[in-house]
């Protein structure tokens, strides 16, 4: 069982090695190798899901090997209910991104980069060692940088460089913060130096002010990655210029590094500092929600709309996490998963439109519903999921996040709700302009989806419905870990009690 996580990380790496060994002249082989490696990872992830013990809040499938013993750095991996969601998402979305769009040129490095990205992402979500976390967090920069730079559009060099430097800047303070944490913790507790996240979480001995400084140092890296306003400016550029697969991976998985970091290394590991910072973080989350939504409404490029909508959705995640309530955390994790699925689907569809029309400019697209009804149907469903229509997967997560936020800080939740309304505005408006209206000549010549593309979209849409109606299997599995995080926060922060939504409390009382 312990080998499950290394296998999930090493299968894509094996794929990279095979691709590297395959000569360029056999270019037809790269795609099957990549699909096989990624599908293998997805299969192992599926197996892992079936073997996951539902009621267990701790780490499962633990793997532990020494790496740099003199500093107490180990290759430790483990999956709890929180990382479970993210691992499933990474395994699934990467498969979609690899199977879906095709590269315009240079398939060999293209598929190699996607596989490295997948290995790194799963590593980030499964490791329980601070330095190993940093290593994976930083390593994924390189493949995405190349994906944007080599296969991107327009100002791809600018976008790729901006993405790289922004993220690396965040990582710079994170590395100092990680070291400061390990060293001050070792000095304060008298134990030998360790970088193990669970160990530090259990025996946190550093002073309050040190903890807050370290939270700021780590939080800067995560805030860039999420991205939180005002550090978000790299995201629209990166999203817009990236190739479809890059956009999907970036939105669905890579942005989640930031929220995962806030949850795992912030709230869980440094609870006092996280509670201290919660008002600021919730405010930034709300600003992200409203600002992202308003700016999205003003965009002319379809991809830029989705990019800014990501800023808004990620705002919900941050809001939920820093509400420090069980509902908020549950909701955040559901948004993490569902934003990945719906945004992935939307980027995939926009990629299909771009392949047919070579533009994403809304003003140049019109009446596509007539020539491409299937495309329009898929777009409609994904769009409603993104808006948060009840019955589709976007709803439960955003609802629970808002519920948690409402209990913690009522007016923040009220402000955040406007974001949902704006989401309806910008998406419906864009849909109306692109799919309705008179069809021009270029639109009429446009073919509808091919069976391969339909086959790609069906599982995504099925998931949207399934997770909208019945998210319980996931909630059951993540709930114990989430509850453990909240309990840990209540235990370690004197005088703090997780807010409970009033209605839920009333109902509980009414049931007596």
């Amino acid at each position: 069982m312990g080998a499950v996580i290394p296998v999930m990380i090493l299968l894509p790496v094996l794929g990279v090695v095979l691709i590297g060994l395959t000569p360029r002249s056999r270019s037809e082989l790269f795609r099957p190798i990549a699909i096989l490696a990624s599908a293998g990872t997805a299969a192992v992830a599926g197996y892992m899901f079936t073997q996951f013990r539902t009621g267990d809040p701790g780490y499962q499938f633990v793997f532990d090997r020494s790496w740099i013993p003199e500093l107490g750095i180990n290759l430790t991996f483990g999956i709890d209910g929180i990382s479970l969601i993210l691992v499933l998402l990474s395994a699934f979305i990467f498969l979609v991104a690899i199977v879906g769009p095709m590269p315009t040129h240079d398939p060999k490095p293209y598929y190699a980069m996607l596989l490295i990205l997948q290995a790194g992402s799963i590593g980030v979500f499964t490791t329980t060692d601070l330095l190993v976390f940093f290593v994976f967090f930083e390593v994924v920069l390189v493949p995405l940088y190349f994906l944007i730079g080599m296969w991107g559009h327009g100002r791809r060099t600018y976008a790729a460089t901006k993405f790289f430097l922004y993220t690396m800047f965040g990582s710079a303070t994170m590395l100092v913060g990680i070291f400061a944490l390990a060293i001050t913790q070792a000095n304060a507790s008298g134990d030998p130096i360790t970088f193990s996240i669970p160990e530090i979480t259990e025996n946190l001995a550093i002073s309050t002010s040190t903890g807050r400084w370290i939270f700021v140092a780590l939080g800067l890296a995560f805030a860039v990655k999420v991205p939180l306003f005002p550090l978000h400016t790299w995201l629209p550029d990166a999203h817009t210029e990236a190739p479809t697969a890059g956009s999907i991976d970036l939105a669905a998985v890579l942005l989640k590094f930031g929220t995962y970091g806030f949850l795992r290394l912030g709230l869980q590991m440094l609870p006092e500092a996280a509670v201290w910072a919660a008002p600021v973080m919730m405010t930034l989350g709300v600003i992200g929600i409203t600002y992202g939504a308003i700016v999205a409404a003003m965009q002319r490029d379809l991809k830029r709309i989705i990019a800014f909508s990501s800023v808004a959705h990620l705002g919900f995640i941050v809001l939920g996490v820093f509400s420090v309530t069980t509902e908020g955390l549950d909701g955040s994790l559901l948004v993490v998963l569902n934003h990945g699925i719906t945004t992935g689907a939307l980027f995939l569809l926009i990629g299909m439109i771009y392949e047919r029309r070579h533009t994403r400019d809304i003003s140049k697209l019109t009446g596509m519903q007539r020539s491409a009804p299937i495309l329009a149907a898929f777009f409609t469903i994904s769009m409603f999921a993104s808006i948060g229509l009840p019955g589709l997967n976007g709803f439960p997560g955003e609802f629970l996040s808002l519920l948690g936020a409402f209990a913690a800080a009522r007016w923040w939740a009220v402000a955040a709700v406007t974001g949902i309304i704006f989401a309806a505005v910008y998406l419906l408006w864009a849909y109306q302009r692109v799919f309705h209206g008179p069809a021009d000549e270029a639109t009429l010549r446009m073919p509808d989806l091919k069976p391969r593309e339909i086959g790609l979209m069906v599982p995504l849409v099925a998931l949207m419905f399934f997770l909208g109606f019945y998210p319980t299997p996931l909630i059951d599995r993540m709930e114990p870990s989430v509850q453990a995080v909240i309990d840990h926060v209540e235990e370690s922060v004197p005088g703090f009690e997780a807010p409970v939504p009033q209605t839920a409390a009333h109902e509980a009382q009414g049931g007596h």
């Binding site: 360029r24 740099i68 013993p69 003199e70 500093l71 315009t104 040129h105 240079d106 330095l131 940093f134 290593v135 994976f136 930083e138 390593v139 920069l141 390189v142 940088y145 190349f146 730079g149 080599m150 296969w151 991107g152 559009h153 327009g154 100002r155 791809r156 060099t157 600018y158 790729a160 460089t161 790289f164 430097l165 690396m168 800047f169 710079a172 303070t173 590395l175 100092v176 070291f179 400061a180 060293i183 070579h358």
Partner: protein, 525 residues
């Protein structure tokens, strides 16, 4: 009326036949200086063999000879290392040469850069039609100077080593006869280097005046046992010596020579220079400052070194991103790297010294690899070093582009390369001293420097014109004559690549060495 001046005290006893016979010379423990001896004798023998043989020897002969000699020097450190680890450090030749883990580690790194440099030179000299043994001889001699410097236990010996090292490298820098910039580099390096040597010597003299000895161990004991009432002379000596070392490691503000010299020198020489000279100079710096003055005068010299470190980090990184010549960019980036190593020195702890040594090892692989690729891209004439000359390299030579990418990402400090762990250990040592601000400055400067490496990567991979809606595979053709990769250079690049990656993935063996390679001064012998 004149006052009778007293007879001057004879400083030295008059040398007579009897006294000369009675003069005790220190015992020479040949085995203890085996690495330096192997290098120096290897150089002299090569010169002898070549002048005795009538016909011109093929190019590979000199290179193979040098590689064998350098490997021999590395091999010679192994029994010495084991002896030091078993019996502890010692000093030989009347306490002037220290035998400890630190000097042996530095020796190994210097010999490794000779090995890699010789492999790069082989194809280069054939390409430039300048085949001859002189290059290799000078390289071996300068390396022997570096080894002497790294193991010096006495300021005079340190200076001797520095001069042996420097004079050979001055000549090497000017060895490309047909390139004016090479001559210019040689002259510049010589003038600035001589200047810095004077500073160092002046500092040594002041230190001698203040402490009464040039022996590092004696200085250490003297300062531990005595408190100087008026230590102005010593502080001036410290400062002057730091200036001298600052020149050699190319730390800001003593870095002015580095960009011109790195750019003008023949590229394999630049590779060797960047690795070996920096290692030797840092070894000397660590011995003098951390070991000799470490316990007593740390409050005085640590701020000085930290200031140099911060300046080097920031100025190096900022100036690097403003260049368009790749060799010049890399010169500035090496200044930034020097800042990182200085930061390790300024931590003045065992962890700091170990971090600096690890950095020097990783840096040797990265920098030799990077300049090694630059050697090949320079093509005949060694002149194509503009950023534009790297344009579309990926289309022409994907393998070479990939290798250079790894070296550049390693220099940028991306994980899973030695460059990352090198920065990691330095940051750890600095944070351990509670110097959070320094650590943050270092990491931010690393981000600035990363832009420089990205610029080269962009040129190699993303060279299609900006704004083109679709990327065309055939837009960015690689310009100029084809890049040829000689077998020896390929071997050098492979070694550097394996070294760079292995240090990042399995650092255990290397950190095992650096942690044992502490500099300890022992007097007498």
């Amino acid at each position: 009326m004149h006052l009778q001046a007293p007879d001057p005290m004879p400083v030295l006893p008059e040398l007579t036949a009897e006294s000369a016979a009675a003069l005790t010379t220190p015992e020479i423990v040949w085995s203890s200086i085996a690495p330096a001896l192997i290098l120096i004798l290897g150089g002299i023998l090569l010169l002898t063999v070549v002048s005795l043989v009538r016909r011109t020897l093929p190019s590979w002969f000199h290179a193979t000879w040098t590689v064998v000699v350098a490997s021999g020097a590395i091999a010679a450190t192994i029994p010495l290392w084991n002896r030091v680890q078993d019996e502890g450090p010692s000093s030989v030749m009347a306490g002037t040469v220290g035998l400890d883990g630190f000097s042996l580690f530095a020796t190994g790194v210097i010999a490794a850069s000779v090995l890699l440099g010789a492999l790069l030179l082989e194809g280069y000299l054939r390409r430039e039609d300048m085949v001859g043994p002189e290059w290799y001889v000078l390289m071996l001699l300068s390396a022997s100077g570096g080894v002497v410097m790294a193991s010096a236990n006495d300021l005079i010996v340190l200076f001797l080593g520095l001069e042996i090292l420097s004079v050979s490298v001055y000549v090497l820098a000017a060895m490309h006869m047909r390139r004016e910039s090479s001559q210019e580099a040689g002259i510049k390096y010589f003038v600035m280097g001589a200047f810095s040597s004077a500073f160092l010597l002046y500092g040594i003299a002041f230190t001698y005046g203040a402490t009464g000895s040039t022996n590092l161990a004696d200085i250490q004991t003297f300062l531990a046992d005595n408190v100087l009432v008026d230590d102005g002379l010593l502080l001036a000596g410290l400062a002057l010596m730091l200036v001298g070392f600052g020149f050699k490691v190319a730390a800001v503000p003593f870095h002015m020579w580095a960009p011109d010299v790195y750019q003008g020198s023949p590229t394999p020489v630049t590779a060797f220079m960047a690795a070996a000279v920096k290692t030797a100079a840092f070894a000397g710096l660590l011995r003098v400052f951390v070991a000799a003055f470490g316990p007593t005068y740390r409050d005085e010299w640590i701020p000085m070194v930290a200031a140099l470190a911060v300046l080097s980090l920031l100025v190096g990184a900022v100036m690097a991103i403003m260049q368009t010549n790749v060799k010049r960019m890399l010169a500035y980036s090496s200044i930034s790297h020097a800042g990182f190593i200085l930061l390790g020195v300024s931590a003045a702890s065992d962890a700091g010294v170990a971090a600096a040594l690890f950095y020097l090892l990783a840096y040797t692989f990265m920098v030799v690899g990077t300049f090694g690729v630059a050697t090949l891209i320079g093509r005949t004439g060694d002149g194509r070093h503009d950023l534009a000359d790297y344009r579309g390299l990926y289309r022409d030579r994907p393998g070479l582009a990939l290798v250079l990418t790894v070296f550049l990402l390693a220099q940028a400090g991306i994980p899973l390369t030695g460059g990352f762990l090198a920065k990691f250990y330095v940051v750890g040592a600095v944070v351990d001293q509670g110097q959070y601000a320094l650590a943050v400055i270092a990491m931010v400067s690393a981000v600035i420097a990363a832009y420089l490496y990205l610029k080269i990567i962009i040129s190699m991979y993303f060279a299609a014109p900006e704004g083109a809606a679709e990327v065309q595979a055939d837009v960015d053709e690689f310009a100029g004559p084809p890049v040829r990769i000689p077998a020896a250079a390929a071997v050098a690049l492979a070694i550097a690549l394996v070294g760079t990656v292995a240090l990042g993935i399995v650092p255990g063996p290397a950190t095992g060495l650096t942690n044992d390679a502490t500099a300890e001064l022992t007097s007498g012998g």
